[in-house]
Amino acid sequence: MISQLTGRFRTVAIYILALCCLPFAMPSVPLATEIVIMTLATLSCHLLLAYGPLLSFGQGAFFGIGAYIGGLYALHVGSSPFGGAGTALLIGGAGTAIAALAVGMVALRRIAGLGGHGVGGVTFLMLTFAVAQVAYFAAYNIPQVTGGENGLLNIPRLPVGVPGLPGLPLESAGAFYLFCAVVLGLVVLLVDLFVNSTVGQAFRAIGENEQRASAIGYNVFVLRLALFVMSGAIAGIAGVLYGMFLGLVPLSAIDLTQSERIVIMTALGGTGSLLGALLGTICFVLGSDLLSKIWPHWPFALGAAIVLVVFFARGGVLGLIENLLRAVTGKPSQGRSV
């Protein structure tokens, strides 16, 4: 439905439109910023699920690793001429990509040939769940580096710019929102180009039939590893932004609930299109912000909402909206299977 609006770059166009409206549509600019940052994290899980097709319960670990790398960078290198928000993102993303490479080598080798939809996918879920626990325990046990339970405190919000010239400050809420929105826009553009490229098509083949794809000559292990590293780097970039946003990295940035949140947002949104990541994140962040003010035990409602999604809205919020549009316009389905 939405697909007919703008042609080739429709997803990117809708993202940019949404990013322009978000700070005005949300109760506050910081809430809009949080949505943008968490959309990046959700996108990392979404990519793996939609194209792997693998569900990772460990994206919170990469989010946290990125946040710590970004935070440490800002604290120790931030005042040097090389210290800038852009460099922090690059270094955080690269560091997280290396971590994802190490994890992916082990995890994807363990599930090689087992099938993403079957035992392989389940084993992958269990492995990444364990990775999330490792990352948390590691962060907890090296307080000299991570600040342990107190978190990494007093992270300066670095300006953005070219080395040598005075950078643009990001202290104001509006400027920082703009920065995050530009980062998300660029990432979505790159991801959109990637999934529509020839390599992206190979992932469709893997998703449909792993054994057939591998018989045609695709190296499933390498392709999946590349996807895993890319999604790890995206989660890491989200983490760097999160640390800059809060001015600290709490231990909760890397714990299991962080991974849980990312999975929930991915599921709420639906995996039919990249827009699902944005929709799921808006629903989750806005919903939890509103609900937590009136009901201390709101996670109960969250659990119930997830069960309801499984029963009544398997395409997530995105699927619901598409169904609604279809009902209004009376046109048949686009045939996007979710």
């Binding site: 699920l49 569900l55 082990v106 080798r109 363990r110 090689a112 040939g113 087992l114 099938g115 939809h117 079957g118 035992v119 392989g120 996918g121 389940v122 084993t123 879920l125 269990m126 492995l127 769940f129 364990a130 990775v131 626990q133 490792v134 325990f137 590691a138 046990n141 054994q211 299991l256 849980e260 999975v263 929930i264 599921a267 035990h297 996670p299 109960f300 969250l302 659990g303 119930a304 909402a305 997830i306 069960v307 999604v309 499984v310 029963f311 398997r314």
Partner: protein, 290 residues
């Protein structure tokens, strides 16, 4: 020497607890191809059941049996009412629905028992130390090891030597054939699910006097059970037992060397095993792709 023996026995106890949780998970997956993310919930409720029943004056072992029975009833209602409707969907929805259930139950536990940890008293009569030749070891922990071992053996006999056990193993090998042979697969699934839930509840009930209870214990146990399944291979009884004991003993030995880092050891063991044997220790019936 005393320390080593204590830590080894602790490790065996810990390993048997891990086994009780993981074997249920592996049974449920092996037979039903169902990913039960809510498995930690049964462990959690098993422990809280003992807490509440013993607070109301029940004898400890009555509380354990009562708690397991309540959890099994809950599991039956959950399986019949909600989860059995999800079986035919892709695994992603198994994970999602059971994850939703986990969030609901954990929040319910926080509502009824508060988020604070509680202590469960060691049953009177098992409080002292036993002498094993020149060594000493807490009575209650010996009881835990004994009960868990008896259950493991009973489960093995049940799976290997009874008709129903053979049906369960056949279901793990080839579900469609079992269905075609006229066996009520829905009932088999319910039985299997409730059996797994009961084993997890037993594990939770037995550890409650040792570690106390808190709302996060379910997810912690689930994470370890996942490690055991990854190392031992999904759907393999033998794999679950060996991997659980390996993880338990390594973790316990590490406690004396590296106090706070012991929680990491289970995961380091997993990484090491996977580096040496990428396919896990044993390849169970889960090897055949479905």
């Amino acid at each position: 020497m005393q320390l080593l023996v204590s830590q080894l026995l602790n490790g065996v106890g810990l390993g048997m607890i891990y086994f009780l949780v993981a074997v249920g998970l592996t049974l449920i997956f092996g037979v039903m191809r169902f990913v039960n993310f809510a498995h930690g919930v049964f462990y959690l409720l098993g422990a809280y059941g003992v807490l509440t029943l013993s607070e109301h004056g029940a004898n400890f072992f009555v509380a354990v049996v009562g708690s397991i029975a309540l959890v099994m009833i809950f599991a039956l209602v959950l399986e019949r009412g909600v989860l059995s409707r999800v079986y035919e969907l892709p695994p992603f929805f198994h994970i999602l629905s059971t994850f939703g259930v986990t969030l609901m139950v954990e929040e319910a536990v926080r509502t009824f028992w508060t988020a604070a940890p509680h202590r469960v008293p060691t049953p009177p009569g098992f409080r002292g130390l036993a002498t094993l030749g020149p060594f000493f070891y807490p009575n209650y922990r010996l009881v835990v090891i004994a009960i868990a071992m008896v259950c493991a053996v009973a489960l093995w006999v049940f799976l290997e030597r009874t008709r129903y056990g053979a049906t369960i193993r056949a279901g793990a090998e080839h579900r469609e054939t079992v269905r075609l042979l006229g066996i009520d697969v829905a009932r088999l699934f319910s039985f299997n699910f409730v059996l797994g839930a009961g084993l997890a509840a037993l594990a939770g009930a037995l550890v409650s006097p040792i570690r106390g209870v808190d709302p996060n214990m379910g997810l912690e146990a689930l994470a370890i059970a996942f490690v055991v399944c990854v190392v031992g291979g999904l759907g393999s009884f033998r794999g679950a037992l060996v991997a659980a004991l390996l993880v338990g003993i390594m973790q316990s030995l590490a406690t004396s060397l590296w106090g706070s880092g012991a929680s990491l050891v289970a995961y380091l063991v997993m990484m090491l095993v996977l580096l040496v044997k990428p396919q896990g220790l044993f390849a169970g019936p889960g090897r055949s792709t479905s």
